[in-house]
Assembly symmetry: C2
Homo-oligomer: 177 residues x 2
């Protein structure tokens, strides 16, 4: 059975949406996502706000209530019938993240067994047929078929097969099956 | 650069030693490790004590103060010069384990960058040249060279190259380099 590795933030979970919301609530500063498109927030924000935003993923509970990406639940549930679906999140720089992410996955993707979850740093240690990720750096070293999931920061990236949403992911994978 | 994946419990960290100590402190029941050798504790303990022991890894802090396996620090530090050393622990059934294990690794193996740590369930998703593990089930599906690290429960296992301690691990890996 072929194996699909799936990233979490910006692919299954709307991380940046929460960052924008919390930053506005706490400081009044409004990030316009169109202004920062094509780059990471770290290269786009004034330093004062960057420090605040960088601290968010260290907060207990920050990852617990992210919104779920459209169609990700139904498509992963389908794919899980014909493929080994693994969730692979590069998250260990933030000590509180694993517990929150486990609970979040258990709530929104209960069909994913804990044995199919991987929290790591580098993803080049991952052995799979597909990797669906919004970060080009993870796709560069991947030895299977990389799929770039569209996010505000990667709109200029053109080295990888791109999926703009989960319905496109399903089409790409089923057409390569 | 070749990649070595290294398990934690019973390989780097003396998990069962702590289980035995805490069970005796809390119940008075003494596990004689020679009585249970050749099988997992789950097949050897009276049910009453098994339930208690099974609850330990869910406790906050349980993994934080395990003792370090003899020679593991010096040997991994050597190997880390010539190999990509990853720590790969199957631990996500216990939500409090990742935070404690990250802090433990940071204390005792500070030369291992967080990007080289993997917390998972199944290890068949791991791509590496060597896997050092005390659990035959993880070694069975591994596509590199498996090394069985001796532990009380695996003394009758004979399908894999065996290392009885970390000095033997170093010999095995350097002779295959």
């Amino acid at each position: 059975m072929k194996r699909i590795a799936v990233d979490m933030d910006e692919v299954l979970a709307k991380y940046t949406d929460k960052v924008i919301k919390v930053l506005e609530q706490e400081t009044g500063y409004i990030i316009n996502i169109e202004d920062v498109s094509g780059a990471f927030l770290s290269r786009s924000l004034p330093e004062k706000y960057l420090d605040i935003v960088t601290s968010y993923p260290y907060r207990e509970g920050f990852f617990r209530d992210l919104e779920v990406m459209e169609h990700s639940q139904e498509v992963l549930n389908h794919l899980n019938n014909d493929y080994e679906v693994y969730i692979v999140s590069s998250t260990l720089q933030h000590p509180n993240a694993p517990k929150d992410k486990l609970a979040w996955l258990n709530e929104h993707f209960p069909f994913i067994h804990f044995k199919k979850i991987v929290f790591c740093g580098d993803k080049k240690i991952i052995r799979a047929d597909y990797l669906i990720d919004d970060h080009p750096r993870h796709l560069e070293d991947f030895q299977g078929k990389p799929i770039l999931f569209s996010a505000f920061h990667n709109i200029h990236e053109n080295r990888f097969k791109r999926a703009n949403n989960w319905l496109e992911v399903e089409q790409i994978i089923n057409s390569n099956a």
